[in-house]
């Protein structure tokens, strides 16, 4: 088991997984979003190859209305 912190909430997964696999599990595939892992941007081109490890801290964001 590994634990990832996603948008401030801990979540458990059975094994390390790629960012794209995580987005599929979270039903976020195809959504226009950006991902940061441990304070660094994960470019969209790296979603398939970037493997997430136990303890990684992710922020997944979208654009919303604001002034």
């Amino acid at each position: 088991m590994i634990t990832l912190t996603i948008n401030g909430q801990p979540r458990e997964f059975s094994q390390p997984l790629a960012v794209s696999e995580l987005l599929t599990l979270l039903e976020l595939t195809g959504k226009r979003l950006a991902v940061e892992c441990n304070g660094e941007i994960v470019p969209r081109s790296g979603f398939d190859c970037r493997l997430l490890q136990h303890g990684d801290n992710l922020e997944i964001v979208v654009a919303v209305g604001g002034g």
Binding site: L28, E36, A63, G66
Partner: protein, 260 residues
């Protein structure tokens, strides 16, 4: 036509609008269209995990192909959070460089923390961003932000969302007169006359959100703001007559009066 130039790109409209606080995206888009704004702000927030994937997306309502999007750092209280937010925005918007930096210092007044703002501006400019910066109406800080390389200085007219109008026109004039980059009033405009006054002072533009979104009829207010910004700009360019304290000057001829 006389145009606004920000970071090398020209715009016909001097009114910039936000996308917060609207009833829905249809109302957001209708108000933006009525405002004639070309630059439109948006915020970056954590995705709501588990939400209905078919939920409407802001970027469908205001497509980047039609508007210049201006991601902001609203809600950030440190330089670090602001920089991280805008790096995420750049990734989200495919390398888009034009951003609105704001670093707040107090949750009640939403007054900017200028120390953290200066720090964030320095990092972002070095990182290649075009930074339009929200700040207090302090001319010294405004000068420093310009020297760092910000592409537009955006002092508050009054507190964010307060609708209190322009509380210190003197400070705004000092900032306008010293700045070589565009100066836009950001925050505090409540109604159309506030926007006109900002433009008459010589501002290059006005950025607003609540004044339109929280009007009883947002679309009509957006149209009023468009006209106010245009009228204020024209009045500034035309050059107002001098004020004459305690003396009148008749508009009609003094000679040829009957019965003399």
């Amino acid at each position: 036509m006389e145009q606004l130039c920000i970071a090398g790109k020209t715009y016909g409209s001097r009114l910039l609008v936000g996308t917060g606080k609207y009833k829905d995206f249809d109302e957001t888009r209708a108000a933006i269209d009525a405002s004639g704004a070309e630059i439109v702000t948006l915020a970056i927030r954590r995705v709501n995990i588990g939400q209905d994937p078919s939920q409407p997306n802001l970027l469908n309502a205001i497509p980047p192909s039609k508007f210049t999007l201006l991601p902001n750092t609203a809600g950030c209280y440190s330089a670090d959070d602001a920089v991280r937010t805008l790096r995420l925005a750049r990734e989200l918007l495919d390398g888009h460089k034009l951003v609105k930096l704001e670093v707040l210092g107090d949750p009640n007044t939403l007054f900017p923390n200028v120390i953290e703002t200066l720090k964030a501006a320095e990092t972002l400019v070095k990182d290649g961003f075009d930074v339009m910066v929200y700040t207090s109406d302090d001319p010294i800080i405004a000068k420093q932000l310009e020297e760092i390389g910000c592409c537009a200085i955006m002092p508050l007219a009054s507190l964010i969302g307060s609708g209190m109008g322009i509380l210190n026109p003197w400070n705004l004039r000092l900032i306008i007169e010293q700045s070589k980059v565009p100066v836009l009033v950001d925050a505090g405009v409540g109604t159309a006359s506030d926007a006109a006054i900002a433009m008459e002072l010589g501002c290059d533009g006005v950025l607003m959100n609540t004044a339109i979104a929280h009007a009883k009829n947002p679309v009509l207010m957006a149209s009023a703001m468009k006209k106010a910004v245009e009228a204020g700009r024209d009045a500034f360019l035309a050059g107002r007559m001098p004020r004459k304290l305690y003396s009148a000057d008749p508009s009609s001829p003094m000679s040829g009066l009957i019965g003399k």
